[in-house]
């Protein structure tokens, strides 16, 4: 076993999976939103919806493509770098990921083609149906991934036979309470990502005084959705914290940077945790609040990291800071969504340039929150790959050499940075260009208060550039 190869493999997994999650979390939310927009367009016939749809579909296309190609890597990486894990937990994780691929990936990949290229070839209702199927596919994909990861966090429903995890109760695995708080948490995070990206784009156009009608749709829909979802998300975040408190006490203590048992417990708001000295520097903490957050009581005893032998403790710095960054992003999003919705209802949002600027600049927040949330979950699970039963060091491919691991990390880094840079640049170009010049001018008898009149003269795309493939 090669220590350097282990470190490199962990870095590689962290890098590739972090890169990957950016795109699905964006596309899951966007797909659901596109379905709503397409349905609104079908019902109202308002051309602005069609414009908004076509515009975001192009961006969806790029993000989806990046998600697909970076996802293929994930399907292989378990085997290449973590052969012991894949041999031992294959009977549990393999079927879960099979369901992911079978139900989700197949739906997405098949109907996505129709979305991009099939507008003229299928009936409008079937086009809407295809959009909904893509959205369903992305959601199912998230579901199975969360079942899989939740099993690694809190393994249930299995026995160990001949060094292999043999599942004996699939209902327990799939209906584990952990799944049903973490899956909604992830799904809501994706919807919020979509909402904030859309709202930020709308704000950008309003700042530039362009595409007013489309920008208003984007901004309002984004704000209203976020205003409802952020509080729900915070509630599910709290439930997620509860499962960590009950099932992964070491992770909980690491997130709280709590070194010794405390009763009642303090809540460390901010500090610099020091694993070697087993203490916090420059700590700012609130008495009793730690017990309230952890157990909803004012004098509960909360465990500290020193209860666990050193070799069973997770690193503290990353979960501690990642968690705080995530929560911080969530609170800023809550504030923005509520103020934005309030001003939208009052009807003069386009005049409040400060808020528009803040909204425009807020688009990285949901991504940062998702990444730091995953860092908290995954780094906090260490030193285990399957919590409490399989150590990360024992999960790795035993004969993997430092040389091979270095080459693969270098290749993946180079390729990913390369395509990421271009992908982001092209998405930026599309956003900057805006929803322009895709539809013919509505016929003169399609007066605004008779939107259905457009139906008689179906809006037709201009000959070029309806979608990514021109």
């Amino acid at each position: 076993m090669d220590i350097t190869a282990l470190l490199l493999s962990r870095l590689q997994f962290a890098f590739t999976v972090s890169f990957h999650i950016i795109f699905p979390s964006f596309t899951i939310g966007l797909a659901a939103w596109l379905t709503v927009i397409e349905a609104l367009h079908l019902v109202t016939g308002r051309p602005a919806y069609r414009l908004v749809f076509e515009f975001w579909l192009k961006i969806f296309g790029i993000a989806f493509g990046l998600g697909v190609v970076s996802g293929i890597v994930m399907a292989f990486q378990f085997g290449t770098n973590w052969s012991e894990l894949s041999r031992m937990s294959g009977p549990v994780q393999g079927p879960l990921l099979s369901y992911e691929t079978f139900t989700a990936f197949a739906l997405e990949a098949s109907f996505f083609g129709i979305l991009l290229f099939g507008r003229q070839r299928v009936a409008p209702w079937f086009y809407l149906f295809s959009t909904a199927m893509v959205a369903l596919g992305t959601t199912l994909s998230a579901f199975w991934i969360m079942v899989n990861n939740s099993w690694m966090q809190v393994p249930v429903g299995y026995v160990v036979e001949h060094g292999v995890f043999v599942p004996n109760d699939w209902a327990k695995i799939i209906f584990s309470p952990v799944v049903w708080v973490r899956f909604p948490h992830m799904l809501l995070a994706s919807y919020l990502t979509g909402a904030f990206c859309v709202a930020a784009t709308g704000a950008w156009y309003l700042l530039r005084r362009e595409f007013q009608a489309e920008a208003q749709i984007m901004l309002r829909m984004g704000f209203y959705l976020a205003a409802v979802l952020v509080p729900v998300q915070i509630f599910f975040g709290h439930l997620t914290g509860d499962y960590i408190h009950d099932d992964q006490p070491a992770k909980f203590a690491a997130i709280e940077a709590r070194w010794y048992d405390e009763q009642p417990a303090n809540e460390v708001l901010i500090a610099i945790p020091d694993s070697r000295a087993e203490t916090n520097h420059y700590a700012l903490s609130v008495p009793v609040l730690g017990s309230v957050i952890a157990s909803m009581s004012i004098n509960s005893k909360e465990v500290g990291l020193t209860d666990f032998p050193r070799q069973n403790r997770p690193p503290v710095l990353i979960p501690f800071f990642a968690f705080r960054i995530m929560v911080g992003c969530g609170l800023v999003m809550l504030l923005l969504a509520w103020v934005g919705s309030y001003l939208s209802v009052k009807g003069h949002i386009e005049r409040n340039r400060l808020l528009l600027w803040c909204t425009f600049l807020s688009f990285p927040l949901p991504f940062i929150a998702i990444l730091t949330g995953w860092f908290t979950a995954e780094v906090g699970r260490q030193p285990w790959t399957v919590y409490g039963v399989l150590r990360t060091a024992n999960a790795m491919t035993p004969f993997l050499t430092t040389r091979a691991a270095t080459i693969s990390l270098a290749v993946f880094s180079a390729v990913y940075i390369f395509i990421f840079a271009f992908g982001i640049f092209y998405i930026y170009q599309l956003l900057r260009e805006g929803p322009v010049g895709r539809l013919v001018v509505p016929p003169s008898d399609a007066i605004p208060n008779r939107p259905m009149s457009v139906v008689k003269h179906p809006v037709t795309p201009t000959s070029r550039g309806l979608v990514a493939g021109e």
């Binding site: 079978f102 083609g113 991009l116 993946f412």
Partner: protein, 328 residues
């Protein structure tokens, strides 16, 4: 149950080879094309379906993990570097579909990544199959060959062979989907590619004789195996005839038959081994509870549905590309 999943694995592998085979082949051909209009037509011939095609690779991967975790862990860790390069190739060609249209000035870059990525991915796939046929150093269910244990002249030869095969599939797809210049070019290439593939098959056969590969002895034990090469040969004859007649629709199905015959030959000559000749299907299979769980949902209902999806998307985008391209 084990047999069912072995069959699903075989079907999805074959589907992957056939479906991604033609779009990888089109990618390789892309590298020898210089006219922007031809390139555009070639891209259009595969753009709506490549993503669905590549899904079958992931299907193969996860079925292998779920149903035969031992083989998944042994093969993927053994082929660390070839798989890395294959994935890098697939990524670079995959993003080219989206990125190519976004730029005029940088288009050469995505043209290169599309052709180069396709070539590397095809080569690596052939190489791994070749190394597998030759036999990997495995002891007690673990690969022991080191970083380059898969590397051999035979594996490299198979890499070249699969590139030829995929390119042939690609040309036949283009003949079916395109008109004009692209179709003419494809027709020009087909005879050379077919002869190249034939030469490759003869070389493989000779190599197997000289090296006395274990596969050979199984051929002598199982003479019914010769049915497959015979089917392949008949398809080859029909292919030649249809090219002479310039019948656009026939060549692709014939090459599909040739690929299926070659695949069948390999699969049955390995039987009952999954990793020849060290791990059998039964040894590799996951516990019954895993296979049954996969069977009663994914296997029984979703797998047939996936075949239907694939058929639907091929149907929706049937016909010549020029007729379909006008709207985008």
């Amino acid at each position: 149950m084990i047999l069912y999943w072995a069959a699903v694995l075989a079907i999805s592998t074959l589907l992957y080879v056939l479906l991604d085979g033609f779009d990888l082949g089109v990618g390789i051909l892309f590298g020898v094309t210089h006219h922007e209009t031809s390139r555009h037509a070639m891209m259009s011939a595969v753009a709506p379906i490549w993503d669905g095609n590549e899904t079958w690779l992931v299907v193969t991967g996860v079925v292998l993990w779920g149903a035969f975790p031992l083989v998944y862990s042994v093969l993927l860790s053994a082929f660390y570097l070839p798989l890395l390069l294959m994935l890098a190739g697939l990524i670079l060609r995959g993003v080219a579909f989206e990125f190519r249209h976004k730029t005029e000035r940088m288009r050469w870059l995505w043209n290169a990544s599309f052709a180069g990525g396709s070539l590397v991915a095809a080569f690596m796939q052939g190489l791994t199959v070749g190394a597998l046929v030759e036999g990997l150093p495995i002891s007690h269910g673990r690969y022991i060959g080191g970083d380059l244990g898969w590397l051999s002249p035979f594996a490299l030869l198979c890499g070249v062979g699969l590139c030829l095969g995929y390119t042939l599939l690609g040309t036949c797809w283009l003949v079916r989907k395109c008109e004009g210049e692209v179709r003419d070019m494809a027709y020009r290439f087909i005879p050379y590619l077919s002869l190249g593939l034939l030469a490759f098959l003869i070389a493989v056969f000779a190599f197997a004789l000289v090296e006395n590969l274990q596969v050979m002895s199984r051929w002598l034990q199982r003479p019914y195996l010769f049915a497959f090469p015979i089917i392949g040969m008949i398809a080859g004859v029909v292919l030649a005839a249809s090219i002479r007649r310039r019948d656009d629709r026939a060549p692709f199905p014939m090459v599909v038959v040739i690929f299926a015959a070659a695949f069948g030959t390999l699969a049955i000559s390995f039987w009952p081994y999954m990793v020849p000749f060290s791990i059998t299907i039964d040894e590799a299979a996951a516990p019954h509870s895993s296979l049954a769980f996969m069977f009663w949902g994914a296997g029984l209902f979703v797998f047939p549905l996936m075949l239907v999806y694939t058929a639907i998307s091929l149907l929706v985008f049937r016909g010549k590309v020029e007729n379909t391209a006008q709207h985008y």
